[in-house]
């Protein structure tokens, strides 16, 4: 569909373009496919015009879609996942801007951006306890609590998508796979591969020891100690010198009984200075 000079190649391309458009049923005016040798500038300007027209058409189609299926997206998390995947496949990010069509007409934006705010508040409220590292499960529980009875339910997939968007704010949001789930990092602690691997090792029991690291990862003592000291300094790990045998390094992020602790919405908001 690029209008370059005449020639066999150009003719073949034109035929291909026509065939493609016929297949998809998109209607293009005949003169737009006419064989005029245009300069790059004219072609560009015409393409812009074409895009503007298509955009208007698309907006109408999207409005129609929204009037029929907006509820589906709101209520059905499976549908949200499929929708996001389809967008990703074609190279479109429906959450990029609150001013985008998707956000404005389907309401997906507000849903995820608000979730982002709630995630930030929960992470800040719990930071003093877990150093800025939290399991996806606990984050999910706390966010649900904060949302209140009448708000809509959210899935873990929704949380992950919201967090991925938050990364743009440059504040050290990270998603670390451990065990069958994820740890969400909300402070810019420097965590390299070594640290991450030790976190994954600790997921089983909530703590890890130097011997365990040496046995499972085949590291030397010094390397293991350095990693553990870094985690201690960053506030992600607690040292237990009274454990039987050798020192245990506990990761509060992995404590499951933390689920039962109450944080009210007040506390969450107060955590922000």
């Amino acid at each position: 569909m690029h209008r370059r000079g005449v020639g066999a190649g150009a003719i073949a391309k034109k035929k291909l373009a026509e065939a493609k458009y016929k297949e998809r049923g998109t209607v293009l005016a005949e003169d737009q496919l006419a064989q005029h040798p245009l300069t790059g500038e004219m072609a560009c300007r015409n393409q812009l015009k074409m895009m503007s027209k298509q955009l208007d058409m698309f907006k109408t189609n999207l409005e129609e879609f929204a009037s029929k299926h907006k509820q589906e997206i709101r209520k059905n998390p499976e549908f949200r996942v499929q929708f996001q995947d389809m967008c990703a496949t074609i190279g479109v990010d429906p959450l990029a801007s609150g001013k985008g069509f998707w956000s404005e007409m389907l309401g997906v934006g507000d849903f995820y951006y608000e979730l982002g705010v709630q995630i930030i508040e929960v992470c800040l409220a719990l930071k003093h306890r877990n150093g800025g590292l939290i399991t996806l499960e606990e984050l999910h529980q706390q966010v649900l609590k904060g949302r209140g009875k009448f708000a809509q339910d959210v899935s873990q997939d929704d949380l992950i998508r919201a967090i991925k968007k938050l990364k743009a704010l440059g504040t050290g949001f990270g998603i670390i796979p451990v065990g069958g789930t994820y740890l969400i990092q909300s402070v810019p602690a420097e965590l390299n591969m070594d640290h991450t691997v030790v976190l994954q090792l600790a997921e089983k029991n909530g703590y890890v020891t130097v011997s365990e690291i040496k046995a499972s990862l085949k590291w030397e003592t010094e390397r293991a100690r350095q990693v553990l000291e870094h985690l201690l300094k960053e506030g992600l790990a607690w040292l237990d010198l009274q454990a039987p045998g050798e020192a245990h390094y506990w990761l509060p992020a992995l404590f499951t009984d933390l689920y039962s602790q109450e944080i009210t919405a007040e506390e969450a908001r107060e955590a922000l200075p």
Binding site: H69, L95, L144, G170, T171, P188
Partner: protein, 380 residues
């Protein structure tokens, strides 16, 4: 409700926890019973419910006893529910809360949400049937439900038919939605291709379009959610929308910035602004793009993006930080944050900057990071 048995709630070997959810109420059929607030746990083998107020009160049913499950959406004043249809209880069942019940189903009401995720996991377990491959102790096995293929209680057949109809109806709705969505996506994809072609022309300077046209192009990209491949210095990736936003932000943030020592992280700004808006929220990228136009955006030491007041000169701030630390002898980031009224994260950044400039030095121990005035500098 007579299928439940009392249990300690401890998991057996080979039995793993899949998901748990607080705030769940159990109904016997349609009737409310006294088990109104508990934690519901799903394992690979069982569904366990423990009373939140009295942890001793704990009961379970085997997943193998479940015929099927369906969702009941939330309504006004009503929580979302999962309806669980059960096989009849075997004659040798262990004791439980109810000896008999006229209902062959129970309802789980999720008063603190979590129904979506729980339903998803429960469906998965019902499909995978992991309990069949992972044998557990005898006491759990005696309660196995009837083998598939046996004749089920009559009432259940009618329910199954209703469910099948409902599934078909839902499927129809969903597939219609997907069909419409697919058509939309095809059109969207065409526009993505077109925009790439235009962007390439602009990049190769083949298309010499006006600034106006470039601005319009960027707003098209913004509307569609297409990443902007054109990196012209004048506007960055911003559009008119972002320029307007930038002006609004400058107005909104003046006072909050002053209250927080002249500096705020983008995360704080994001929360502040969106909480204030309530609706038509900003995406994180919207905020970043608007801030880039503010020229007040700076990138300090490590991975944190902030907004600073124009009046906020770095050297002044560092000098005052040094003064504060000297007054107190030494300070940690937390102590400094409290004194100055800024977030701990940014306090740390400022102290680190002061250190980099040679005004402070650190005492880094397992007890934490503490900063002291750099006497090596001043007293040599």
């Amino acid at each position: 409700m007579d299928r439940f048995v009392w249990t300690s709630g401890l998991l057996e070997i080979n039995e793993t926890l899949v998901i748990q959810q607080r705030g769940v109420r159990i109904y016997d059929g349609e009737e409310k019973i006294k088990f109104d607030a508990g934690t519901l746990l799903l394992s690979t083998h069982r569904l366990i419910w423990r009373d939140q107020k009295n942890h001793e009160c704990c009961m379970a049913i085997l997943l193998s006893q479940i015929v099927f499950i369906e969702e009941q959406a939330a309504g006004i004043g009503k929580s979302a529910k999962i309806v669980v249809h059960l096989h009849p209880a075997p004659p040798n069942k262990e004791p439980g809360p109810f000896q008999s019940s006229k209902n062959s189903y129970i309802k789980l009401s999720f008063k603190e949400h979590g129904q979506i995720e729980f339903y998803r996991r429960l469906s998965e377990e019902m499909t995978q049937r992991r309990w069949e491959n992972m044998p557990v102790s005898q006491s759990l096995q005696t309660n196995r439900g009837p083998q598939p293929g046996r004749i089920r209680a009559v009432g259940i057949v009618g329910i199954e038919r209703k469910l099948e109809e409902k599934r078909k109806e839902t499927d129809k709705n969903i597939s219609e939605a997907f069909e419409d969505l697919s058509k939309l996506m095809i059109k969207a994809k065409e526009m993505v291709e077109l925009s790439k072609s235009i962007a390439n022309k602009i990049k190769d300077k083949q298309g010499d379009i006006t600034e106006d046209e470039t601005i319009r192009f960027k707003s098209y990209l913004l509307s569609m959610g297409i990443a902007n491949p054109v990196t012209r210095e004048t506007y960055g990736s911003g559009t008119q929308y972002h320029m307007q936003l930038a002006k609004q932000l400058a107005g909104i943030l003046q006072v909050p910035l002053e209250e927080r020592g002249g500096i705020m992280s983008l995360t704080e700004v994001y929360c502040l602004v969106n909480r204030a808006r309530g609706m038509e929220l900003l995406s994180p990228e919207d905020l970043v793009n608007a801030c880039k136009m503010l020229e007040a955006l700076k990138l300090p030491l490590s991975g944190v993006m902030v907004i600073e007041l124009q009046s906020h000169k770095e050297e002044e701030m560092v000098a005052s930080a040094l003064e504060t630390v000297s007054e107190k002898g030494s300070l940690t980031s937390e102590e400094f944050a409290k004194l100055v009224g800024m977030s701990v994260l940014l306090a740390k950044e400022r102290l680190l900057l002061a250190e980099k400039m040679g005004h402070l030095c650190r005492d880094d121990s397992v007890e934490g990071l503490r900063f002291y005035p750099n006497l090596f500098m001043t007293q040599s």
